[in-house]
Symmetry: C2
Subunit: 188 residues, 2 copies
Amino acid sequence: MKKSLEKPNIINVEVVACSQLFTIEAVDLTFSNGVRRIYERMKPCDHEAVMIVPILGYNLILIQEYAVGLDSYQLTFPKGRIDFGENAFEAADRELKEEVGFGAARIEVLGKLTMAPSYFSHRMTIVVAEGLYERKLQGDEPEPLIIYRWPLDNLLELLNKPDFREARNVSALFMVREWLVSQGRLNY
Amino acid sequence: MKKSLEKPNIINVEVVACSQLFTIEAVDLTFSNGVRRIYERMKPCDHEAVMIVPILGYNLILIQEYAVGLDSYQLTFPKGRIDFGENAFEAADRELKEEVGFGAARIEVLGKLTMAPSYFSHRMTIVVAEGLYERKLQGDEPEPLIIYRWPLDNLLELLNKPDFREARNVSALFMVREWLVSQGRLNY
Protein backbone atom coordinates (compact mmCIF):
# COMPACT_ATOMS: atom_id res chain seq x y z
CA MET A 1 0.00 0.00 0.00
CA LYS A 2 2.84 2.38 0.76
CA LYS A 3 4.81 4.07 -1.93
CA SER A 4 6.64 7.31 -2.17
CA LEU A 5 4.95 10.24 -3.88
CA GLU A 6 7.24 10.55 -6.84
CA LYS A 7 5.56 12.95 -9.24
CA PRO A 8 4.94 11.95 -12.86
CA ASN A 9 7.44 13.18 -15.38
CA ILE A 10 5.87 15.66 -17.79
CA ILE A 11 7.20 14.94 -21.29
CA ASN A 12 5.24 17.48 -23.30
CA VAL A 13 2.58 20.17 -22.85
CA GLU A 14 0.63 21.28 -25.88
CA VAL A 15 -2.27 23.69 -26.38
CA VAL A 16 -5.06 21.69 -28.03
CA ALA A 17 -7.96 24.16 -27.92
CA CYS A 18 -8.37 27.80 -27.19
CA SER A 19 -11.24 30.25 -26.89
CA GLN A 20 -11.44 33.85 -25.69
CA LEU A 21 -11.54 32.72 -22.06
CA PHE A 22 -10.20 29.16 -21.94
CA THR A 23 -6.93 27.58 -23.06
CA ILE A 24 -6.83 23.80 -22.91
CA GLU A 25 -3.58 21.88 -22.72
CA ALA A 26 -2.81 18.23 -23.33
CA VAL A 27 -0.16 17.08 -20.88
CA ASP A 28 1.81 14.00 -21.90
CA LEU A 29 3.34 12.39 -18.82
CA THR A 30 4.80 9.20 -17.42
CA PHE A 31 4.00 8.02 -13.91
CA SER A 32 6.85 6.72 -11.77
CA ASN A 33 5.66 3.16 -12.44
CA GLY A 34 6.17 3.72 -16.16
CA VAL A 35 2.51 4.16 -17.10
CA ARG A 36 2.10 6.89 -19.71
CA ARG A 37 -1.02 9.05 -20.01
CA ILE A 38 -2.18 12.17 -21.76
CA TYR A 39 -4.33 14.36 -19.53
CA GLU A 40 -6.17 17.50 -20.50
CA ARG A 41 -6.22 20.49 -18.22
CA MET A 42 -7.02 24.17 -18.28
CA LYS A 43 -3.77 26.06 -18.81
CA PRO A 44 -2.51 27.12 -15.38
CA CYS A 45 -3.20 30.77 -14.66
CA ASP A 46 -1.25 33.16 -12.43
CA HIS A 47 -4.36 35.08 -11.47
CA GLU A 48 -5.84 34.00 -8.18
CA ALA A 49 -9.32 34.92 -7.02
CA VAL A 50 -10.92 36.18 -3.82
CA MET A 51 -14.30 35.53 -2.21
CA ILE A 52 -15.59 37.94 0.40
CA VAL A 53 -17.94 37.00 3.24
CA PRO A 54 -19.31 40.40 4.34
CA ILE A 55 -20.82 40.77 7.80
CA LEU A 56 -23.12 43.73 8.40
CA GLY A 57 -24.65 43.82 11.87
CA TYR A 58 -26.18 40.40 12.47
CA ASN A 59 -26.33 39.44 8.81
CA LEU A 60 -24.18 37.99 6.08
CA ILE A 61 -24.43 39.72 2.73
CA LEU A 62 -24.77 37.73 -0.48
CA ILE A 63 -25.69 38.59 -4.04
CA GLN A 64 -27.95 36.96 -6.58
CA GLU A 65 -26.40 36.81 -10.01
CA TYR A 66 -27.04 35.07 -13.28
CA ALA A 67 -24.78 32.06 -13.87
CA VAL A 68 -24.71 30.99 -17.52
CA GLY A 69 -23.17 27.57 -16.73
CA LEU A 70 -26.42 26.56 -15.06
CA ASP A 71 -28.58 29.16 -16.88
CA SER A 72 -30.08 30.27 -13.58
CA TYR A 73 -29.73 32.87 -10.84
CA GLN A 74 -27.51 31.78 -7.99
CA LEU A 75 -26.85 33.05 -4.47
CA THR A 76 -23.17 33.73 -3.91
CA PHE A 77 -20.80 35.68 -1.75
CA PRO A 78 -19.17 38.50 -3.73
CA LYS A 79 -16.05 37.33 -5.54
CA GLY A 80 -13.68 38.16 -8.32
CA ARG A 81 -10.23 38.03 -9.78
CA ILE A 82 -7.21 39.52 -8.05
CA ASP A 83 -5.94 41.97 -10.67
CA PHE A 84 -2.27 42.57 -11.47
CA GLY A 85 -0.69 44.71 -8.77
CA GLU A 86 -3.40 43.96 -6.23
CA ASN A 87 -3.18 41.78 -3.16
CA ALA A 88 -6.13 39.73 -1.88
CA PHE A 89 -7.21 42.45 0.57
CA GLU A 90 -7.25 45.19 -2.08
CA ALA A 91 -9.11 42.95 -4.52
CA ALA A 92 -11.65 42.04 -1.83
CA ASP A 93 -12.26 45.69 -0.98
CA ARG A 94 -12.66 46.61 -4.67
CA GLU A 95 -14.98 43.71 -5.49
CA LEU A 96 -17.12 44.52 -2.45
CA LYS A 97 -17.46 48.13 -3.62
CA GLU A 98 -18.28 47.05 -7.18
CA GLU A 99 -20.69 44.24 -6.42
CA VAL A 100 -22.33 45.29 -3.16
CA GLY A 101 -21.59 48.99 -2.76
CA PHE A 102 -19.63 48.71 0.49
CA GLY A 103 -16.05 49.30 1.50
CA ALA A 104 -14.62 47.32 4.42
CA ALA A 105 -12.55 48.64 7.33
CA ARG A 106 -11.48 45.15 8.42
CA ILE A 107 -10.65 42.19 6.20
CA GLU A 108 -9.30 38.90 7.53
CA VAL A 109 -8.27 35.74 5.69
CA LEU A 110 -10.30 32.61 6.53
CA GLY A 111 -8.47 30.23 4.23
CA LYS A 112 -7.61 29.20 0.70
CA LEU A 113 -9.50 26.88 -1.62
CA THR A 114 -8.74 25.09 -4.86
CA MET A 115 -11.29 23.66 -7.30
CA ALA A 116 -11.09 20.35 -9.16
CA PRO A 117 -7.27 20.35 -9.33
CA SER A 118 -7.29 17.40 -11.74
CA TYR A 119 -8.32 19.98 -14.35
CA PHE A 120 -7.79 23.48 -12.99
CA SER A 121 -5.12 25.47 -11.17
CA HIS A 122 -7.77 27.76 -9.67
CA ARG A 123 -6.92 29.19 -6.25
CA MET A 124 -9.27 31.36 -4.23
CA THR A 125 -8.62 33.19 -0.96
CA ILE A 126 -11.66 33.38 1.32
CA VAL A 127 -11.88 36.50 3.48
CA VAL A 128 -14.34 37.91 5.97
CA ALA A 129 -15.10 41.65 5.73
CA GLU A 130 -16.43 43.83 8.54
CA GLY A 131 -16.64 47.51 9.41
CA LEU A 132 -18.66 48.09 6.23
CA TYR A 133 -19.44 51.58 4.96
CA GLU A 134 -21.31 52.66 1.84
CA ARG A 135 -19.03 53.19 -1.15
CA LYS A 136 -19.98 52.27 -4.69
CA LEU A 137 -17.48 51.56 -7.46
CA GLN A 138 -18.57 50.89 -11.02
CA GLY A 139 -17.98 47.25 -11.96
CA ASP A 140 -18.63 45.39 -15.19
CA GLU A 141 -21.93 43.83 -14.14
CA PRO A 142 -24.52 43.75 -16.94
CA GLU A 143 -27.37 44.40 -14.51
CA PRO A 144 -27.59 45.59 -10.90
CA LEU A 145 -26.91 42.68 -8.55
CA ILE A 146 -29.60 41.88 -6.05
CA ILE A 147 -28.31 42.18 -2.50
CA TYR A 148 -29.38 39.49 -0.10
CA ARG A 149 -29.04 39.41 3.70
CA TRP A 150 -28.94 36.26 5.73
CA PRO A 151 -29.12 36.22 9.57
CA LEU A 152 -26.08 34.94 11.44
CA ASP A 153 -28.23 33.09 13.98
CA ASN A 154 -29.62 30.90 11.22
CA LEU A 155 -26.42 30.34 9.28
CA LEU A 156 -26.62 26.72 8.15
CA GLU A 157 -30.23 27.04 7.00
CA LEU A 158 -28.72 28.71 3.95
CA LEU A 159 -27.66 25.21 2.83
CA ASN A 160 -31.32 24.34 2.32
CA LYS A 161 -31.68 26.89 -0.47
CA PRO A 162 -31.35 25.20 -3.89
CA ASP A 163 -29.57 28.24 -5.33
CA PHE A 164 -26.84 28.09 -2.65
CA ARG A 165 -24.91 24.93 -3.46
CA GLU A 166 -21.65 26.15 -4.95
CA ALA A 167 -18.76 24.33 -3.25
CA ARG A 168 -16.57 27.40 -2.55
CA ASN A 169 -19.60 29.24 -1.15
CA VAL A 170 -20.60 26.28 1.02
CA SER A 171 -17.02 25.99 2.31
CA ALA A 172 -16.91 29.74 3.01
CA LEU A 173 -20.16 29.54 4.99
CA PHE A 174 -18.76 26.80 7.23
CA MET A 175 -15.43 28.65 7.54
CA VAL A 176 -17.03 31.90 8.69
CA ARG A 177 -19.17 29.95 11.16
CA GLU A 178 -16.04 28.39 12.70
CA TRP A 179 -14.43 31.83 12.84
CA LEU A 180 -17.44 33.38 14.60
CA VAL A 181 -17.67 30.46 17.05
CA SER A 182 -13.94 30.72 17.80
CA GLN A 183 -14.45 34.37 18.70
CA GLY A 184 -17.39 33.61 20.99
CA ARG A 185 -19.75 35.56 18.73
CA LEU A 186 -21.82 32.53 17.74
CA ASN A 187 -22.78 29.20 19.30
CA TYR A 188 -23.13 25.98 17.35
CA MET B 1 -32.70 47.45 -4.93
CA LYS B 2 -35.54 45.04 -5.64
CA LYS B 3 -36.16 43.65 -9.08
CA SER B 4 -37.67 40.46 -10.33
CA LEU B 5 -35.33 37.71 -11.42
CA GLU B 6 -36.18 37.66 -15.08
CA LYS B 7 -33.64 35.43 -16.76
CA PRO B 8 -31.63 36.68 -19.72
CA ASN B 9 -32.86 35.68 -23.14
CA ILE B 10 -30.39 33.35 -24.88
CA ILE B 11 -30.18 34.36 -28.54
CA ASN B 12 -27.52 31.94 -29.75
CA VAL B 13 -25.25 29.18 -28.45
CA GLU B 14 -22.21 28.25 -30.50
CA VAL B 15 -19.33 25.85 -29.95
CA VAL B 16 -16.13 27.91 -30.16
CA ALA B 17 -13.50 25.39 -29.06
CA CYS B 18 -13.37 21.70 -28.50
CA SER B 19 -10.83 19.19 -27.23
CA GLN B 20 -11.09 15.50 -26.33
CA LEU B 21 -12.47 16.38 -22.90
CA PHE B 22 -13.80 19.92 -23.06
CA THR B 23 -16.36 21.64 -25.30
CA ILE B 24 -16.58 25.40 -24.92
CA GLU B 25 -19.65 27.36 -25.94
CA ALA B 26 -20.16 31.06 -26.54
CA VAL B 27 -23.61 32.07 -25.30
CA ASP B 28 -25.02 35.25 -26.81
CA LEU B 29 -27.71 36.64 -24.52
CA THR B 30 -29.67 39.75 -23.60
CA PHE B 31 -30.39 40.65 -20.01
CA SER B 32 -33.89 41.85 -19.11
CA ASN B 33 -32.59 45.44 -19.00
CA GLY B 34 -31.52 45.16 -22.64
CA VAL B 35 -27.78 44.72 -22.02
CA ARG B 36 -26.30 42.18 -24.43
CA ARG B 37 -23.31 40.00 -23.58
CA ILE B 38 -21.47 36.99 -24.92
CA TYR B 39 -20.39 34.61 -22.17
CA GLU B 40 -18.27 31.53 -22.55
CA ARG B 41 -19.11 28.37 -20.65
CA MET B 42 -18.29 24.69 -20.67
CA LYS B 43 -21.03 22.92 -22.62
CA PRO B 44 -23.55 21.60 -20.08
CA CYS B 45 -23.16 17.90 -19.44
CA ASP B 46 -25.81 15.40 -18.35
CA HIS B 47 -23.32 13.36 -16.36
CA GLU B 48 -23.33 14.15 -12.69
CA ALA B 49 -20.61 13.10 -10.27
CA VAL B 50 -20.44 11.59 -6.82
CA MET B 51 -18.03 12.06 -3.91
CA ILE B 52 -17.86 9.44 -1.20
CA VAL B 53 -16.90 10.14 2.42
CA PRO B 54 -16.03 6.65 3.72
CA ILE B 55 -16.06 6.00 7.46
CA LEU B 56 -14.17 2.95 8.74
CA GLY B 57 -14.19 2.60 12.51
CA TYR B 58 -13.09 5.94 13.94
CA ASN B 59 -11.47 7.17 10.72
CA LEU B 60 -12.35 8.83 7.48
CA ILE B 61 -10.71 7.36 4.40
CA LEU B 62 -9.14 9.57 1.76
CA ILE B 63 -6.82 8.96 -1.16
CA GLN B 64 -3.75 10.74 -2.43
CA GLU B 65 -3.78 11.16 -6.18
CA TYR B 66 -1.89 13.14 -8.76
CA ALA B 67 -3.77 16.23 -10.01
CA VAL B 68 -2.36 17.56 -13.25
CA GLY B 69 -4.14 20.94 -12.92
CA LEU B 70 -1.85 21.76 -10.00
CA ASP B 71 0.88 19.27 -10.97
CA SER B 72 0.92 17.89 -7.43
CA TYR B 73 -0.46 15.09 -5.28
CA GLN B 74 -3.68 16.01 -3.51
CA LEU B 75 -5.69 14.50 -0.67
CA THR B 76 -9.26 13.84 -1.72
CA PHE B 77 -12.26 11.77 -0.87
CA PRO B 78 -12.89 9.14 -3.53
CA LYS B 79 -15.04 10.48 -6.36
CA GLY B 80 -16.05 9.90 -9.93
CA ARG B 81 -18.61 10.19 -12.65
CA ILE B 82 -22.05 8.63 -12.42
CA ASP B 83 -22.12 6.41 -15.49
CA PHE B 84 -25.12 5.91 -17.76
CA GLY B 85 -27.63 3.60 -16.11
CA GLU B 86 -26.19 4.13 -12.63
CA ASN B 87 -27.70 6.08 -9.76
CA ALA B 88 -25.55 7.98 -7.26
CA PHE B 89 -25.51 5.06 -4.80
CA GLU B 90 -24.35 2.53 -7.39
CA ALA B 91 -21.69 4.90 -8.68
CA ALA B 92 -20.49 5.59 -5.13
CA ASP B 93 -20.22 1.88 -4.38
CA ARG B 94 -18.34 1.22 -7.64
CA GLU B 95 -15.92 4.13 -7.22
CA LEU B 96 -15.19 3.07 -3.65
CA LYS B 97 -14.35 -0.44 -4.85
CA GLU B 98 -12.17 0.87 -7.66
CA GLU B 99 -10.33 3.60 -5.79
CA VAL B 100 -10.15 2.28 -2.23
CA GLY B 101 -10.91 -1.43 -2.43
CA PHE B 102 -14.04 -1.37 -0.25
CA GLY B 103 -17.71 -1.97 -0.84
CA ALA B 104 -20.24 -0.18 1.38
CA ALA B 105 -23.27 -1.70 3.08
CA ARG B 106 -24.77 1.71 3.90
CA ILE B 107 -24.65 4.85 1.75
CA GLU B 108 -26.50 8.05 2.65
CA VAL B 109 -26.74 11.35 0.80
CA LEU B 110 -25.28 14.38 2.63
CA GLY B 111 -26.05 16.98 -0.04
CA LYS B 112 -25.43 18.26 -3.53
CA LEU B 113 -22.79 20.72 -4.70
CA THR B 114 -22.19 22.76 -7.82
CA MET B 115 -18.87 24.32 -8.89
CA ALA B 116 -18.35 27.78 -10.43
CA PRO B 117 -21.77 27.83 -12.14
CA SER B 118 -20.82 30.95 -14.09
CA TYR B 119 -18.78 28.57 -16.25
CA PHE B 120 -19.76 24.98 -15.48
CA SER B 121 -22.92 22.91 -15.08
CA HIS B 122 -21.07 20.47 -12.80
CA ARG B 123 -23.22 18.79 -10.14
CA MET B 124 -21.86 16.45 -7.51
CA THR B 125 -23.75 14.40 -4.93
CA ILE B 126 -21.90 13.98 -1.62
CA VAL B 127 -22.53 10.70 0.19
CA VAL B 128 -21.28 9.07 3.36
CA ALA B 129 -20.43 5.35 3.18
CA GLU B 130 -20.33 2.95 6.11
CA GLY B 131 -20.42 -0.78 6.72
CA LEU B 132 -17.28 -1.15 4.61
CA TYR B 133 -15.99 -4.57 3.52
CA GLU B 134 -13.00 -5.41 1.36
CA ARG B 135 -13.84 -5.70 -2.33
CA LYS B 136 -11.56 -4.54 -5.11
CA LEU B 137 -12.72 -3.59 -8.59
CA GLN B 138 -10.30 -2.67 -11.36
CA GLY B 139 -10.48 1.06 -12.15
CA ASP B 140 -8.61 3.11 -14.70
CA GLU B 141 -6.07 4.57 -12.28
CA PRO B 142 -2.55 4.80 -13.76
CA GLU B 143 -0.93 3.92 -10.43
CA PRO B 144 -2.20 2.46 -7.15
CA LEU B 145 -3.81 5.19 -5.07
CA ILE B 146 -2.39 5.77 -1.64
CA ILE B 147 -5.01 5.22 1.04
CA TYR B 148 -5.04 7.72 3.86
CA ARG B 149 -6.89 7.50 7.19
CA TRP B 150 -7.88 10.51 9.22
CA PRO B 151 -9.28 10.26 12.79
CA LEU B 152 -12.86 11.45 13.35
CA ASP B 153 -11.96 13.08 16.68
CA ASN B 154 -9.61 15.45 14.89
CA LEU B 155 -11.75 16.19 11.88
CA LEU B 156 -11.16 19.88 11.19
CA GLU B 157 -7.38 19.59 11.59
CA LEU B 158 -7.48 18.18 8.08
CA LEU B 159 -8.05 21.77 6.89
CA ASN B 160 -4.51 22.62 7.97
CA LYS B 161 -3.03 20.27 5.40
CA PRO B 162 -1.96 22.21 2.28
CA ASP B 163 -2.94 19.30 0.01
CA PHE B 164 -6.51 19.30 1.34
CA ARG B 165 -8.00 22.55 0.06
CA GLU B 166 -10.34 21.51 -2.71
CA ALA B 167 -13.70 23.23 -2.22
CA ARG B 168 -15.93 20.16 -2.70
CA ASN B 169 -13.71 18.16 -0.32
CA VAL B 170 -13.74 20.95 2.27
CA SER B 171 -17.54 21.19 2.01
CA ALA B 172 -17.86 17.40 2.32
CA LEU B 173 -15.71 17.41 5.46
CA PHE B 174 -17.94 19.99 7.14
CA MET B 175 -21.07 18.18 5.93
CA VAL B 176 -20.04 14.83 7.38
CA ARG B 177 -19.12 16.55 10.64
CA GLU B 178 -22.64 18.05 10.89
CA TRP B 179 -24.10 14.64 10.10
CA LEU B 180 -22.04 12.91 12.82
CA VAL B 181 -22.89 15.63 15.36
CA SER B 182 -26.60 15.39 14.49
CA GLN B 183 -26.45 11.65 15.26
CA GLY B 184 -24.72 12.20 18.60
CA ARG B 185 -21.59 10.39 17.36
CA LEU B 186 -19.37 13.45 17.53
CA ASN B 187 -19.17 16.64 19.57
CA TYR B 188 -18.12 19.99 18.18
